[in-house]
């Protein structure tokens, strides 16, 4: 009875909020409507859909012992309270993705992104995370690749491995590009971000040598050091003699990021990676909470229209219509295939009861999705003219401020050079034109929310705080991604020559790290020299690769459900899979086949090659043209390979399903036999 009342109340409030959004289409709407609608949607999804999936589709059985209990070794298998597992899982899945994607997708207006974030998460992303978490928990915490191999066949396993490696490369490149664009010609941001490196090293030494394992006090020290770096960056910015030493163009910054990534991959983890991760997790959780409070306090108006004319595919941030590209641009926050790797990694080894899977799997993805909604709010509360001036590459709107404001105002989003100059001055930056990548505009949005709640005079400080916050955890992901990529490469190379597979043999460490960093460094470098900003090519590629991984995860889940004789219920994962396959394939098709050079990669390469051959390019563009031409063709082929991998796995899954329906023999799979739990109630002491 109580539950029904709660459900009805949620539905009514949610409907009002959604109605508010629908009815306010022609005037600025308040962010509070969006926040309310989002929270109601998540609670409804969690309360009803997730509960139904847990009971009916997955037949969750709290009496069944989990691997954490059966294999408890006090190291990786440890039965842990669900709130702690939730915290760990959320910290692991929440990265910079949900901050960048919604910002870029705001070029279509706030509505397409918002709807996809909500619907995609509740019916797709949360479901994927929860189902994979349970399936892995029932298989002794096996990884997605292992499950694909055990349940579908060797091809599925290989596709998951290759897909993971490709996504690591593209993810690292695109995130590297985001921070380069933040640091470009910004002595304050550069000095602050450089300062976070020694801060991490000091924390690393503290945790290793002075007070081993005292994470909280070390993190506190680290946060103080990082805030010091923030203030010191501001000081540097005001010293005419010193500031030039931190004022760089994009290429040297890219070289720095690449070199840093290489160091992080070969240095001992305790020195750089682990302490940086503690800092980034703390900053991440703290800033997200701060942002939520500030949005509630200021309840800003959304200035971006619900829909812009760019739904037709002519957008300045990236080419392509709202369908399918909003679904590719926003992966993290709606459906993120990468999460399946986490849900089949550490978390299933900590789950103490199958009934915790709903909170850990579904719940943490719903929270991450909410982060995406906040990023969307921060991006769309800016004047649309300002938003487009910050996020459009010089190659699209014109290289000079006058040309840029002319183009953007011509689109119906008035903005002036004066306005941009004043904004840049308030944020402590030289310019905010063509700062592509999403991070600077998000930082401006965050600074205006945080500034109006907690001190308007500190706008520049808040801007650089937001920048540092994004950079710190982008670099943590960069380090971790490069390292995992290095291990995967070593595993592959070990098949060629056995010693190369030894993860602690130094020549192999150096070789695999150099290959991995070289691969993402290449894409990063090309992105940096691309006059259109690079993000317009790299981010869709990242979206496609992330959705491809989601397709693999959903295929594995669907195959397992069908094999278990739960054919009807398999629709719960099969329908999101069908949608993901549709949008990913359509997007990939357009990226490869479209004759429009703003969209098609090969068309763009051909157009540029034609101009280059005819000598029509200005000298500075002619210099980089051959590299851009090669890269666009390469990106076209990468897109093709990713889509082919996805379809091979889907067909493999369908083959397994057909065999099941026809009653033909199947792989036995790797589900662990039932064993009764003896933990029942044992975790209750800590509030379970």
């Amino acid at each position: 009875m109580k539950n029904k009342l709660l459900g009805t109340l949620l539905a009514v409030v949610g409907a009002f909020a959604a109605g508010g959004i629908a009815l306010n289409r022609h005037e600025p709407i308040n962010a509070l409507w969006i926040v309310t609608a989002a929270i109601c949607v998540y609670l409804l999804g969690y309360r009803f859909y997730a509960a139904w999936i847990a009971a009916r589709v997955l037949a969750i059985d709290p009496s069944r012992a989990t691997p954490a209990e059966r294999l408890n070794n006090g190291r990786d298998f440890i039965p842990t309270h669900r709130v702690i597992v939730f915290g760990h899982h959320f910290a692991a899945i929440a990265g910079p993705g949900p901050l960048v994607g919604p910002t870029l997708a705001a070029q279509f207006g706030y509505l397409p992104g918002l709807l996809w974030i909500l619907v995609g998460a509740v019916l797709g992303g949360c479901v994927q995370d929860m189902v994979i978490l349970l399936l892995s928990t029932r298989r002794d915490g096996r990884s997605l690749g292992q499950m694909a191999r055990d349940e579908l066949g060797p091809f599925g396993g290989f596709a998951a491995l290759l897909g993971t490696l490709i996504i690591m490369i593209i993810l690292s490149a695109v995130l590297g590009l985001v921070i380069v664009n933040v640091m470009k010609h910004s002595p304050w941001a550069t000095a602050t971000i450089l300062g976070t490196v020694p801060a991490a090293l000091i924390v690393g030494l503290y945790l290793r040598a002075w007070r081993p394992g005292r994470v909280l006090e070390a993190t506190l020290l680290g946060v103080a050091l990082v805030l010091l770096a923030l203030v010191a960056g501001g000081w540097v910015d005001h010293q005419p003699g010193i500031r030039t030493a931190f004022d760089y163009t994009a290429v040297p910054l890219a070289v720095f990021v690449i070199g840093y990534g290489f160091c992080a991959a070969i240095l001992p983890v305790w020195l750089l990676l682990a302490p940086r991760d503690y800092l980034s997790t703390f900053l991440k959780l703290g800033t997200i909470m701060l942002l939520a409070v500030a949005i509630l306090l200021t309840h800003p108006q959304i200035r971006m229209p619900a829909l812009t004319q760019f739904v037709d595919g002519s957008g300045p941030l990236f080419g392509g219509r709202v369908f399918p590209f909003v679904f590719i641009t926003i992966a993290c926050g709606a459906v993120s295939g990468f999460h399946a790797l986490i849900a089949s990694g550490t978390s299933p080894k900590l789950i103490s009861s199958e009934s915790d899977v709903r909170l850990v799997g579904y719940g943490s993805m719903a929270l991450e999705s909410f982060v995406a909604v906040m990023a969307l709010i921060a991006a769309t509360l800016l004047d649309p003219g300002v938003f487009f001036a910050i996020n459009s590459g010089a190659g699209v709107v014109g290289a000079t401020p006058a040309a840029a404001v002319h183009t953007i105002s011509g689109w119906g989003f008035p903005v002036t050079v004066e306005q941009m100059r004043a904004l840049a001055a308030a944020m402590g930056e030289q310019t905010l034109f063509a700062r592509t990548g999403g991070a600077p505009s998000l930082a401006v949005g965050m600074a205006s929310i945080l500034g109006s709640s907690f001190g308007r005079g500190l706008m520049a400080l808040w801007y650089h705080f937001a920048v540092m916050f994004e950079a710190v955890f982008i670099m943590a992901v960069l380090d971790a991604g490069t390292r995992v990529g290095r291990f995967m490469l070593q595993d592959l190379l070990g098949h060629l020559w056995r010693p190369l597979g030894r993860t602690s043999w130094y020549p192999s460490v150096l070789l695999a790290s150099a290959l991995m960093v070289g691969a993402w460094g290449y894409f990063l470098y090309i992105g940096v020299i691309d006059p259109n900003g690079g993000i317009n090519i790299l981010w869709p590629l990242f979206g496609i690769s992330n959705q491809m991984l989601a397709g693999i995860a959903l295929s594995v889940a669907t195959g397992i459900l069908v094999k278990a004789g739960r054919k009807r219920y398999a629709l719960v994962t099969a329908l999101p899979l069908a949608w993901i396959a549709l949008v990913t394939t359509t997007a990939a098709w357009q990226k490869v086949m479209s004759p429009d050079p703003r969209l098609g990669l090969f068309a763009a390469a051909d157009e540029l090659a034609g101009k280059f051959a005819a000598g029509l390019l200005p000298p500075e563009r002619a210099l980089v043209a051959p590299q851009l031409i090669f890269n666009q063709r390469l990106d076209g082929w990468v897109t093709f390979v990713l889509t082919a991998l996805l379809w091979f796995v889907i067909l493999d899954m369908l083959r397994v399903c057909v065999r099941r329906v026809r009653g033909l023999p199947l792989r036995a799979g790797s589900e662990a036999p039932y064993q009764a739990s003896r933990l029942q109630g044992a975790m209750a002491g800590s509030g379970a």
């Binding site: 190291r75 909280l216 990676l273 992966a331 986490i342």
Partner: protein, 62 residues
């Protein structure tokens, strides 16, 4: 007053568990129960092992 103190203490222990600050103490307790005859790792060695394990798989996401 003691209620508030108790709640603060509970919050502190949650915070320690979430951040992994108490990992070594939990390891010692468990080690003492299961292998009382084997000398346990030092805090430094335990921390090192824990970090190696954590960072050899996918533990951070986009």
């Amino acid at each position: 007053m003691s209620g508030a103190a108790q709640r603060l203490r509970a919050l502190w222990s949650w915070l320690r568990a979430l951040s992994g600050d108490d990992a070594y103490e939990r390891y010692r307790a468990r080690h003492g129960r299961r292998h009382p005859d084997v000398p346990p790792l030092t805090p430094g060695d335990f921390y090192l092992q824990q970090q190696q394990r954590k960072w050899s798989g996918v533990s951070r996401c986009c």
